[in-house]
């Protein structure tokens, strides 16, 4: 009775078992279960009976390969999870498939693990997937690896065979940055050096598999790292009189306290934490890495999913070009011309390959640089470009915000880690506007207050196109329509900024002209205005820069140009030169309304 009064605090660890197909992974796990007495009563007998009925010899692997299809084919299809305990802790053993066809399942299994046991068949030696799995473990961030040389019975327990494999595979693992904790010769079928030492290999005096697994260290907690909380959602339920506006997310690294100043990236909005909300739990004023929390803030900000909350002195990186290592599992190759979805933390952005640096065959690490696409099961080093700026870290400094998956159509088709930020043209401006936003002096009125009074948020419409196509006429009608329907709207013509604010600038100082126009627009937006702008000074290519300067305010880009030229990259709408300005303005207003940027009703 007494034992249950306090809930026992046992440690749990996820371990993955990987290796080439038929090298005996499932047999090893089945043996571990049988030898440590964790099987439910009747499970062993049930599997033995099934084997007899189907006229085949019992194998320990059948204990795991519980699915019908697997028993018929004799290979593991998916990563089965097996619960298991030793004197020191509880384990979830993930038995990952070794067949190349099921690499995505191996990755799924291994990504959940804190440590790995990698099997090599003594008779077959190091094979293609022995190497591929080793490489993937390294990319998945698994550093604790015990290598087990199985089926020693098939090579007469020969020490030289074992040493040759150890030498070859250690050299390979060193190349991918893994130092194995153990190299163990075993026979899983006979239980030699699995749970007990056995008598067949006197020449080996190291650990058993069970010892090796028990010696894996619990991963260091990320509590002492810089605070990272990707915003998962913002709730306001309003049901049953609940007025709280709660920012929800999981703290991926660091600690958080009530009353601290925090910043959200990439929007650069700052606030102070007011409370940590919870249901049916004691009130707390602090939380740390691993917790899924809900916060209220002293200033109610418009924050969106995908932003990363941090402290002010240690923000994540923000950019649009990333140097990454990617592994590709999709049936269709990853190609240069296609747009994909990148999911990093809670952010989702459109992404494309900007440059293929090199493509590797993960099974031998020979670089093939001339490839123009990334095929299934390839590993590649790429530069990718996101459509909008994203907040992230380098994988080496902060794992959870430094890795991502790539979605092709409906399915996750690849994963990767961020190696570096590649500075784009706007990098410097982005840093400057972050400094500006943090230091920005405010009165008591927030943007949210202004939006509430005006009935609409501040945003910007920018008309682009060559001189004389009718941008100004559309802008005039749009301003009139918006003001007429009760909006705080203002026509900001580039020429007006040029005449006054820019009077001291040289005509060819494009960067200076764009920056000042952006800063002026930002002031109007900060005052709660819906800015309608036209300018001949700033081309379509500068709008990315403009967007950087006015972020997080939204911009709608309307291009006036011939149909033959199509909708330029980054533009939301296009009209023909000389089109009816009334119709164009109405269309623009309806798009603004759809996107929630106008007054309701």
């Amino acid at each position: 009775m007494g034992a249950a009064t306090n809930i026992e605090q046992r440690e749990t660890m996820n371990i993955v078992i990987v290796g080439h197909v038929d090298h005996g992974k499932s047999t090893l796990v089945g043996r571990l279960l049988a030898d440590t007495g964790v099987l439910g009563d009747g499970k062993m007998e049930k599997v033995q009976t099934t084997c007899r009925r189907q006229g085949k010899a019992f194998e320990y692997a059948f204990l795991l390969d519980a699915l019908e299809a697997e028993q018929q084919q004799g290979i593991t299809i998916d990563a089965a999870r097996v619960f298991f305990r030793t004197d020191s802790r509880d384990y979830i053993i993930i038995d990952a498939p070794g067949h190349i066809e099921f690499l995505k399942n191996m990755v799924t299994g291994a990504a959940r693990a804190q440590a790995a046991v990698l099997l090599i068949d003594a008779k077959e030696g190091v094979r293609e997937n022995s190497r591929r799995h080793g490489y993937l473990l390294s990319m998945l961030g698994i550093r604790q690896v015990a290598v087990v040389v199985n089926k020693m019975d098939l090579v007469d327990y020969d020490r030289d065979v074992f040493l040759r494999i150890e030498e070859e595979y250690r050299a390979f693992l060193a190349e991918v940055g893994i130092t194995p904790s153990h190299f163990i010769p075993i026979s899983a079928r006979d239980g030699e050096f699995v749970a007990s030492r056995g008598k067949t290999m006197d020449w080996y005096d190291g650990a058993t598999v069970l010892d090796a697994v028990d010696s894996f260290a619990k991963l260091p907690s990320r509590v002492d790292a810089a605070l990272r909380m990707p915003v998962q959602d913002v709730y306001r339920f309003n049901a049953r009189g609940d007025e709280r506006r709660i920012v929800a997310g999981r703290i991926e690294a660091g600690r958080l306290k009530v009353g601290e100043r925090v910043i959200f990236s990439p929007s650069n909005k700052t606030s102070t934490t007011k409370s940590i909300e919870a249901f049916s739990a004691p009130v707390t004023t602090a939380a740390a890495a691993g917790s899924s929390v809900g916060l209220t803030l002293t200033e109610e900000l418009f924050i969106e999913r995908g932003e990363v909350m941090s402290h002010l002195d240690a923000e994540p990186l923000v950019g649009t070009r990333l140097r990454v290592n990617v592994f590709w599992l999709g049936r269709r190759p990853m190609t240069m011309d296609k747009r994909y979805k990148l999911k990093l933390g809670t952010a989702q952005v459109e992404v494309r390959i900007d440059k293929i640096l090199r493509v590797l065959d993960a099974s031998d690490l020979d670089a093939t640089t001339e490839k123009s696409q990334v095929d299934r099961h390839d590993v590649a080093e790429l530069i990718v470009a996101t459509r909008n700026p994203i907040a992230f870290d380098l994988a080496e400094t902060n794992e959870s915000t430094g890795r991502f998956v790539i979605v092709d159509e409906y399915d996750i088709a690849g994963g990767g880690i961020v190696r570096d930020l590649v500075q784009d043209a706007d990098h410097q401006l982005r840093l400057e506007s972050r400094i500006r936003d943090i230091a920005w002096v405010r009165g008591d009125i927030t943007n949210a207050n202004r939006a509430e009074v005006a009935g609409h948020p501040a945003s910007m419409v920018t008309l682009t196109g060559a001189a004389g196509v009718g941008k100004h006429a559309i802008a005039c009608v749009l301003e009139r329509v918006l003001v007429g329907s009760g909006h705080h709207a203002y026509l900001l013509d580039g020429k007006n900024v040029f005449l006054g604010v820019d009077a001291d600038l040289a005509l060819d100082d494009r960067a200076g002209l764009v920056r000042r126009f952006g800063e002026v627009a930002h002031l109007f937006l900060d005052s709660g205005t819906l800015v309608v702008s036209t300018t001949n000074v700033i081309g379509l290519g500068d709008h990315r820069t403009l967007q950087t300067l006015i972020a997080p305010f939204k911009m709608l880009i309307v291009h006036v140009g011939p149909e033959a030229e199509g909708l330029p990259d980054g533009a939301d709408l296009r009209f023909d030169p000389g089109c009816d300005p009334e119709a164009a303005a109405r269309r623009i207003a309806s798009v603004l309304a759809e996107r929630g940027r106008l007054r309701q009703g």
């Binding site: 009775m1 439910g40 089965a80």
Partner: protein, 286 residues
């Protein structure tokens, strides 16, 4: 952070991902301990609210106190209850004497499939606490299910977010990868995604959590003097009790630590065929 904390944090994260990504979202509530723990976790995730409907498939053969308990909790916690049933099969006299798998398939699998896709009428609890015909039966695209990997073999192959095709079928051999808490949240029209927040929990974790959180679990899990109790809930005809004198959550935990009898030993349909559960699950059984 102890093990129960870690399990809770992960389940909460999964529930919030589901709520964010699936507009037509529901949670299957079987009234058993697992899905009741899951319901409690939803209240944790959403700060006391449960912002999606709970779906119960009523085979009409459930232990009667289960229905009573369901409706009482729904009223007390302000839940949106949706109930589905295979009325045609029941009208034609379907029961487990026609064959256990035949009966499970009709009253559970078929009823679930058609309740989820909105093609059969379903009952919804109104403001008045009574059931009325659901006027606007939408197809659910995200279905939260309390399956645990340790229950039986086929469940250990599930992802946290597992796709089901247009026929609710599960293609076990070809599931997309799932890593680093990035889940399958994009899906083709006509398909849906099963979401499993309890995948990593064991039976004993569930009881430990019930004890820690003081969750009001249905009392037929406890012995009331006869020396028997239910360990797994289902239809009255196909669910046996186990010999046990455990009268409290704490006593159940002590008992589970000592036993080697599998949890579903009392569930007759599992014994009907070696691959019974996998067959049922491929077809959409939960």
């Amino acid at each position: 952070m102890n093990q129960l904390d870690a399990l809770e944090e992960q389940s909460v994260y999964i529930l919030r991902e589901a709520y964010r990504h699936f507009e037509e979202l529901c949670m299957l509530w079987s009234i058993g301990k697992d899905s009741t723990v899951m319901l409690w976790l939803a209240r944790k995730a959403f700060f006391g609210h449960v912002p999606f409907p709970l779906v119960h498939i009523d085979t009409s053969f459930k232990v009667p106190s289960m229905i009573e308990y369901r409706d009482r909790l729904a009223r007390d916690w302000g839940l949106t209850m949706v109930v589905g049933q295979n009325r045609d099969a029941l009208a034609e006299g379907m029961n487990c004497d026609k064959g256990r798998l035949v009966c499970c398939r009709a009253l559970k699998t078929d009823a679930l499939r058609h309740t989820l896709d909105g093609s059969w009428p379903r009952q919804r609890m109104g403001e008045d606490g009574e059931y009325h015909l659901d006027e606007n039966p939408q197809a659910f695209t995200g279905v939260i299910v309390g399956a645990r990997a340790d229950e039986e073999g086929s469940r250990s192959k599930e992802r946290y977010f597992s796709p089901r095709d247009t026929n609710s079928d599960w293609d076990v051999a070809d599931q997309p990868p799932e890593l680093w808490n990035q889940f399958k949240t994009d899906f083709a029209p006509g398909t849906h995604v099963r979401i499993h927040p309890l995948l990593d929990w064991t039976e004993i974790n569930v009881w430990e959590y019930i004890q820690r959180e003081n969750i009001p679990i249905i009392d037929i899990y406890f012995d009331k003097g006869a020396g028997t109790r239910y360990r797994s809930l289902g239809c009255e005809c196909c669910t046996g009790t186990v010999d046990s004198t455990a009268r409290s959550t704490q006593e159940i935990i002590v008992e589970l630590r000592a036993t080697n009898v599998p949890e579903r030993a009392g569930r007759a349909q599992d014994q009907a065929d070696t691959y019974a559960m996998e067959k049922l699950r491929r077809e959409g059984y939960m």
